[in-house]
C-alpha cells in the first residue's frame, strides 16, 4: 500500500486541471433531461473529445488515452472539482463501451467506439420493459431473424436519454420459444430507424429524462448484435457489473457534494437541528470511505483482480450516501428547500440533486436486488 501520487500522476492531475479550468463552461448548462440542455451537453462531450478527454481509459485507437484506473480517478476528481457538466453519454462510455471492448468484433469496435468517444453518437440503454423491471429475464420484446437482419417488435421503457439520443442498446428475445435468461441477444439499434417510436416520460422533476420506446418491425442488421445469438444475458450481466462496480459513480461526485454540504452547513449553522451537524460529518465520512474503497478496487483490478458480487456493496453504499447527503441539505435549507430557484435566480441544485438521489436506490438494479445478491452470492444464503 502506497497512498501517495507519483510525480507522473501529479503531472497528469495538473494537465487535467489546466484543461478543465480553460474549458469548463462558466455558466451551468441547462439540465440534460431537456432538449436544449441535452444539446448543450452534447456540445460539451465534443469539446471534451477535442481535448482527447472523452474516455481516458480507452485505448488510443478508439479515441482514448490508454490510461489506468488510478489516472481515471484523478481525471474524475479534477472533473468534479472544476464543476464540469454531467456526462450525457454516460451509458455509452461507461456501460456499452467496456462491453463492446470485451465482447465486440474488431469491426464493431471501430464502428461504435470511436464515434462514442468523440461524442458523435449518444447512447441510451434499453433493457427495462413494462413487465420486466427488477425481473429483467421477463423480457418479451422480440428480434426475429430475417436473412441478414433482425426484425424487432415490442416495447422498452425507462430508457434514460432516449428522448433525444441517437442509438440504443438493448436485450431482445431472438428465440421466440425461449424462456427467462435463455434466448436473449444484445443488440444495438438506431433510434431514428423506421418503426421506432419514442414517447418521452416526464421524471419526478418534470423533464423528459427517460422515454418509452415502441418497436414496430424495426429492421436491424445482424452485425449489430454483440456476442453470439442467445448470449445476451451474460453480456448484459457483464455490463451491469461495470455499472454497479466501479465506473457508474466515481467518488469525486460525492466528495464534491460533501464539500458543498459542509459549506452549506456553515452558512446555516446558527439555525440547524442538533442532528444536522452529525449528518454533515457522516456525509463527508461516507464520501471518503467510498473514495478509499474505489481506490482499493481500482488497485485490485490493476493488479489483475476483478470485481464480482462486491459490486453490489458499492451500489448500495453510494446510492444511500447520496440520498442521505441531499436529504441533509434539504433539511438545512428549511423552508427554502422547496423553492426551485434560490436567491439570485440560480436553480436550487440541492432540490434537483435530492430528487435525482431518490432514483439511485432504484436504477442499475434496485438496492433490494443488490441485498439479495449480497446475501446469496457473498454470504451463501439459500435462494
Amino acid at each position: 500500500m502506497d497512498l501517495v501520487y507519483t510525480p507522473e500522476q501529479q503531472d497528469f492531475r495538473a494537465e487535467v486541471r489546466a484543461w478543465m479550468e480553460a474549458n469548463v463552461p462558466k455558466e451551468p448548462l441547462v439540465t440534460l433531461e431537456r432538449e436544449d440542455g441535452y444539446h448543450q451537453h452534447v456540445e460539451w462531450e465534443r469539446k471534451l473529445a477535442s481535448g482527447n478527454w472523452g474516455m481516458v481509459t480507452w485505448p488510443e485507437a478508439y479515441g482514448g488515452r490508454g490510461l489506468d484506473l488510478i489516472q481515471w480517478l484523478i481525471f474524475e476528481e479534477e472533473y468534479y472539482r472544476a464543476g464540469a457538466p454531467l456526462r450525457v453519454n454516460q451509458n455509452g462510455i461507461f456501460l456499452l463501451g467496456p462491453t463492446v471492448m470485451e465482447f465486440g468484433t474488431d469491426e464493431q469496435k471501430a464502428r461504435f467506439l470511436t464515434p462514442m468517444a468523440k461524442g458523435e453518437v449518444i447512447w441510451a440503454q434499453a433493457w427495462s420493459e413494462p413487465n420486466a423491471g427488477s425481473d429483467m429475464a421477463a423480457i418479451t420484446s422480440k428480434a426475429i431473424r430475417d436473412g441478414d437482419h433482425y426484425v424487432i417488435t415490442g416495447q422498452k421503457t425507462w430508457s434514460s436519454r432516449a428522448s433525444f439520443a441517437d442509438w440504443g442498446f438493448g436485450l431482445f428475445r431472438t428465440d421466440p420459444e425461449s424462456k427467462r435468461h435463455k434466448g436473449l441477444s444484445f443488440i444495438l439499434f438506431d433510434l431514428n430507424a423506421p418503426g421506432v417510436t419514442r414517447r418521452p416520460i416526464r421524471q419526478l422533476h418534470g423533464d423528459p429524462g427517460f422515454a418509452e420506446l415502441f418497436f414496430d418491425e424495426v429492421r436491424v442488421p445482424v452485425e449489430n448484435r454483440i456476442a453470439g445469438e442467445g448470449e445476451g444475458w451474460n453480456v448484459a450481466m457483464a455490463t451491469a457489473g461495470f455499472e454497479r462496480g466501479l465506473m457508474l459513480r466515481s467518488p469525486a461526485r460525492f466528495q464534491a457534494a460533501a464539500e458543498r454540504l459542509v459549506k452549506l452547513f456553515r452558512q446555516h449553522e446558527a439555525k440547524t437541528a442538533p442532528a444536522a451537524r452529525e449528518q454533515v460529518m457522516q456525509a463527508w465520512m461516507d464520501a471518503q470511505a467510498y473514495a478509499y474503497n474505489t481506490y482499493a478496487v481500482a488497485s485490485k483490478i490493476m493488479a489483475g483482480g476483478h470485481i464480482g458480487a462486491e459490486a453490489s456493496l458499492n451500489k448500495i453504499f453510494w446510492s444511500e450516501l447520496d440520498r442521505a447527503a441531499h436529504r441533509t441539505a434539504m433539511q438545512l435549507l428549511g423552508a427554502s428547500a422547496e423553492l426551485r430557484h434560490l436567491d439570485g435566480g440560480a436553480l436550487n441544485m440541492w432540490l434537483e440533486g435530492y430528487i435525482f438521489s431518490l432514483s439511485g436506490p432504484i436504477y442499475a438494479g434496485s438496492n433490494e436486488i443488490q441485498r439479495n445478491i449480497i446475501a446469496e452470492r457473498l454470504l451463501g444464503l439459500p435462494r
Binding site: W284, M285, N293, A296
Partner: protein
Amino acid sequence: MDFTITEDQATLTQGVRDYLAGVHTPELLRALDASDSRRSDAVWQGLTEMGLPGLLVPEAQDGLGLSLLDAVLIAAELGRAGVAEPLADTALVAAPLLAKAGGQDALLAAIAAGKAKVALQHPVNPWVADLDGASHILSVKDEALLLADHGGTAELLDSVDPLRRLYAPVAPTGTEVGSADTLLDHAALIASAQLVGIADAMLEQATDYAKNRSQFGQPIGSFQAIKHHLATAVVKIEFAKPVIQRAAVALQKNAASASVHVSHAKIAAADAAWAMSETAIQTHGAMGYTYEVDLHFWMKRAWALSSAWGDRAFHLARIDAAVIGGALPIGPGHSFA
C-alpha cells in the same frame, strides 16, 4: 498510488487467522470465562511462539519490524478470534510507540520475547485494561506519555465483557516517551481494527445460524428480511475496512491529518460492529439472548471497544474541528489529504 495489501501481508494475516481458529476456539473462551484469572499462560505462550508480540518490534530487538498497516490486519484477526490476552495493547500499540520514542531497546526485546506486557492508561478511559499482570504501564500526565515499571495488584472493575480485566487508573508516573495523543491515536486505531474483526466474526456466526436454523420448513436464511439485515451489515463492515487501512498509513507516516482519519476509522468500525451485533442477535432469536451461545462474547467486546479509546462523541468532535472547522482540505482530489 496503490491501495492493496501485499501478498506477504495477506499470507501473514491468513496464517494468524488459521492459527487462532485452531487454538482460540469458543470452547477456550468459555473455559477462560469459568477461570478465575480469565487469562491463560498457555495461550500467551502460543501467541509468543507464533512471534506475534514482536510483530512491530524493530528487527534489531528481535522483532519483525512491521508497520501499522500490518498491525491493523492482525488486530482484526485478534478481534475475530475474540482474543482476551493483552496482545493488542502490548504488541500493536505499546511496541510501535516505544520504538518511535527510542531508547527502549531492552523493553522492546522483552516484548518480542513475550516477557513484558504493557498496560495502557489514558484519561479518555475511566479504566486501565490488564493492569494486573502488566510489567509496565504507559500513562498520561499533562499531555505527556510516561513509561514506568509496574507490579502489584489493583482494584478490579466489573466489565460486561466477561473476558475483559479492567482496573481503576493509578497515579501517572515514569519517564516521558511521547505524547498523550499518540497513545490515543494508536490505541483507537487498533481498537477500530479489532472491531471489524469482531463484526466479521458475528457476521459469520449469524450467517451460519441462518443457514442451519429452520422455521416454516425452510432455513431462516432463505427469508428476505434476514438476508437484507445481514446484507446491510456487510456493507457497513466492508466500507469500514479501507478507512482503517487508510488511517493506519496516515498514522505510520505521522501525517498531520492522522488523528482525523483515526477518528473516522473508529466511528466507522464501531458503527459497523454495533449494528452487526444487533443484527446478529436478531438473527439468532432467543438463542442470541442466552449466555450459552458464543455470540455474546463478541457482542460485548464490540460494546466495550466501541466506546473505549474515545467514544463516538469524542471522535466526532475531532472530525468536526477538522472538517467543519476547516483545517482539513476536503472535496475531490483530497482523498489522501
